[in-house]
């Protein structure tokens, strides 16, 4: 395994403006392998903008994007996916009318080879066996125990199960970074626990997880480090074990002194 203390994904000095509005100001952010990095901040702090920059959905105006210390160019979601970065949006974007197997392979379905190679790719017969196996592998990897069958339509699943399927879709391709946007916002207690379990599983399997949430309870349960954003700037990085929820709330709402020792110790050098 690679060095666990070096950042796997890192951005340095990222700036992003929408017209006159400067949404991100010289933001440094990093996440290591096998780590859950929470991203918190009040509304309008720039969390979602940063997340979209990381996922390639927004292009940034200036700054560096590094994977394992190497400079990369990320201009589109496809670029991000090619670098192993996957995002699970809050609205999940699953097709309720398709079953779990179909959703997990959607957009890159395996097809049969041989004589069928003569047909254009989108008209070759689907390799249902491979699709089913792929789905089973993805579900087992995340230890989703409550799912009765992979041939159920996603529309009939519970919120937690849907979240699990969306995460499974993100990690079933060769991803190393998973960005989760408010994964528990719409869930009840037991389903939240189920999703947090999945996040731990991802962490154990060496994924870098970026976890956006407003729910401090979830964050303190699952995150290793916490990046705080305020008014477009990254103002602090804390180790979860060394801070209380009260201190975090103060940092989110009124900021921290710029030379705070916590921050310097924990930020990965750019």
């Amino acid at each position: 395994m690679e060095n666990m203390t070096n950042p796997h994904l890192q951005v340095c000095g990222i700036n992003k403006s929408f017209g006159n509005v400067r949404a991100l100001l010289d933001v440094d952010f990093s996440v290591r392998r096998g780590e859950v990095m929470a991203l918190v901040g009040d509304n309008g702090a720039g969390k979602s903008t940063l997340m979209k920059v990381l996922a390639g959905a927004y292009s940034y105006d200036s700054g560096d994007f590094l994977i394992d210390g190497k400079n990369v160019t990320i201009n589109s979601p496809t670029d991000a996916a090619n670098q192993g970065i996957q995002i699970v949006y809050q609205d999940l974007a699953l097709c309720d009318n398709l079953d779990v197997i179909d959703n997990l392979s959607l957009g890159h379905e395996p097809t049969k080879g041989g004589i069928y190679k003569l047909l254009p790719k989108s008209l070759r017969p689907l390799d249902m066996l491979k699709m089913t196996q792929k789905a089973h592998a993805a579900i087992e990897k995340l230890k989703v125990k409550t799912l009765r069958s992979t041939s159920l339509e996603v529309g009939v699943l519970s919120g937690g199960q849907k979240q699990a399927i969306a995460i499974a879709r993100a990690v079933s391709s060769d991803s190393s970074v998973v960005l989760l946007d408010e994964p528990t916002a719409a869930l009840g207690v037991s389903q939240t626990a189920q999703v947090l379990d999945i996040v731990s599983t991802l962490k154990k399997s060496g994924h870098s997880v970026v976890y956006i949430s407003h729910n401090l309870k979830d964050i303190f349960q699952v995150a290793d480090r916490i990046t705080v954003m305020r008014l477009g700037e990254q103002i602090a990085i804390y180790e979860t074990a060394k801070i209380t929820p009260q201190e975090l709330v103060v940092a989110m709402t009124s900021g921290v002194e710029t030379d705070s020792q916590d921050k310097k110790d924990l930020a990965d050098a750019c």
Binding site: L98, D102, L106, V156
Partner: protein, 392 residues
């Protein structure tokens, strides 16, 4: 733990209604009820001759319904199918009767022209972003005009070419029908068996043997009855063979290919489809290209059936019958749900109502009102089942 108790509480009925195979049940039941009613109230309904003409009569609507199912799956609509069918038929008729072109070549040219029409409509929907309802409404008006222009002042061209006429007057030799049917059934059983074995070998979940057997038996029973009824009058018309091949092809495309998944995905959740990298624009343009070609095919079959191409034949009920057939067959107007085989059943429901009401001496007024009732019930079932799906 949850899994086991739920499995046990499911009885056989739930097993059937929850399998994907079951979507044809409502329309099949409707068809059986309609047939029983007319069978009991009129003498002529249950005769091989009547069924022969009923099926032949429903073929044009069925072809268009199968085609429009593709567009409906995508969550779009095409109101121009009947007009485009008319343009296709008119082009074919003019090429054959006025330019003396060979009929097969004229058919190919007509079909390609209509594919092009479909592509243009698809571009307007997918690239410019005009709602398909508006684009194809304009298409409906415009192509009726084009059809009139091609047909000239009389508004009709007679089609006496033997190749074209043969599509609806020639039939398959009875033994050929039986041999083809035997192969189809054997292939279906073989397929089900191989599928079962492969999945069992990899210890994946398999469809219960009861359901598989039931499915194969039902399809076998229906097709044997169909061939037997048709053969006891004049055999299976070429047009119906064309319809079945077309449906088989589209069934494969919609259910077993990445393009089919893209259709369902875009119709179900466009944003989701976009994020996984499906090109919404290409998927949409291809769908409209397909419906263009299918419309032309439907138009040619209609020209064969009536031995003429006339403005009236393509400007009347054809459009609404085709959309109605697809919807009665369980295809959702909201996108993402539907099946091409069910569209044939839907076309039979619409055709049987017309045929049966004719036999009972009903007026056009009665026919229109009954058709409206059937259509509204079908859409109501669709809307209710959508709500149910969301609630869980």
């Amino acid at each position: 733990m949850l899994a086991n108790s739920e499995l046990k509480s499911k009885n056989i009925f739930a097993n059937i209604t929850q399998s994907k195979f079951s979507t044809f049940l409502p329309v099949a039941l409707a068809l059986i009820v309609i047939w029983l009613y007319f069978g009991l109230t009129t003498d002529a309904f249950f005769s091989a001759r009547n069924f022969y003409y009923l099926f032949l009569q429903s073929t044009v609507v069925a072809v268009l319904a199968v085609g429009i199912t593709i567009v409906l799956l995508l969550g779009h609509i095409d109101l121009s199918i009947a007009a485009v069918a008319g343009v296709g038929a008119a082009i074919m008729a003019v090429l054959v009767s006025q330019f003396g072109m060979s009929a097969p070549l004229a058919c190919v040219i007509a079909i390609f022209t209509c594919i092009l029409i479909g592509v243009v409509q698809g571009l307007l929907v997918a690239i410019i972003g005009i709602p398909s309802f508006v684009v194809t409404l304009a298409g409906l008006l415009g192509f009726q005009g084009v059809m009139l222009k091609i047909l000239g002042n009389d508004g009709a061209i007679n089609v006496r070419d033997s190749f074209i006429r043969g599509i609806t007057t020639e039939t398959l030799p009875t033994t050929t029908s039986w041999i083809i049917l035997a192969f189809v059934i054997l292939f279906m059983i073989y397929n089900a068996y191989i599928n079962y074995k492969e999945r069992a070998a990899l210890s994946l979940e398999v469809e219960s043997i009861f359901i598989s057997t039931l499915r194969v038996s039902i399809v076998t029973l229906i097709s044997i009855t169909f061939v037997w009824v048709m053969n006891s009058y004049r055999g299976i018309p070429v047009a119906i063979v064309i319809l079945l091949c077309l449906t088989l092809l589209f069934s494969y495309v919609t259910k077993n290919t990445p393009y089919g998944r893209a259709l369902f995905a875009v119709g179900g959740n466009e944003e989701s489809a976009r994020r996984v990298g499906i090109s919404i624009q290409k998927t949409t343009i291809y769908a409209f290209a397909i419906i263009g070609g299918v419309s032309a095919l439907g138009g040619i079959i209609a020209a064969s059936r009536y031995a003429s191409v006339s403005y009236n034949a393509f400007s009347g009920n054809l459009l609404l019958d085709a959309i109605g057939a697809a919807v009665v067959g369980g295809t959702s107007l909201f996108g993402g749900r539907g099946s091409v085989w069910n569209a044939i059943l839907g076309a039979l429901v619409i055709g049987s109502l017309g045929n049966g009401l004719d036999l009972t001496g009903a007026t056009t007024a009665d026919k229109l009102m009954v058709s409206a009732l059937i259509l509204v019930s079908a859409v109501a079932i669709d809307a209710i089942s959508r709500k149910k799906g969301k609630k869980v």
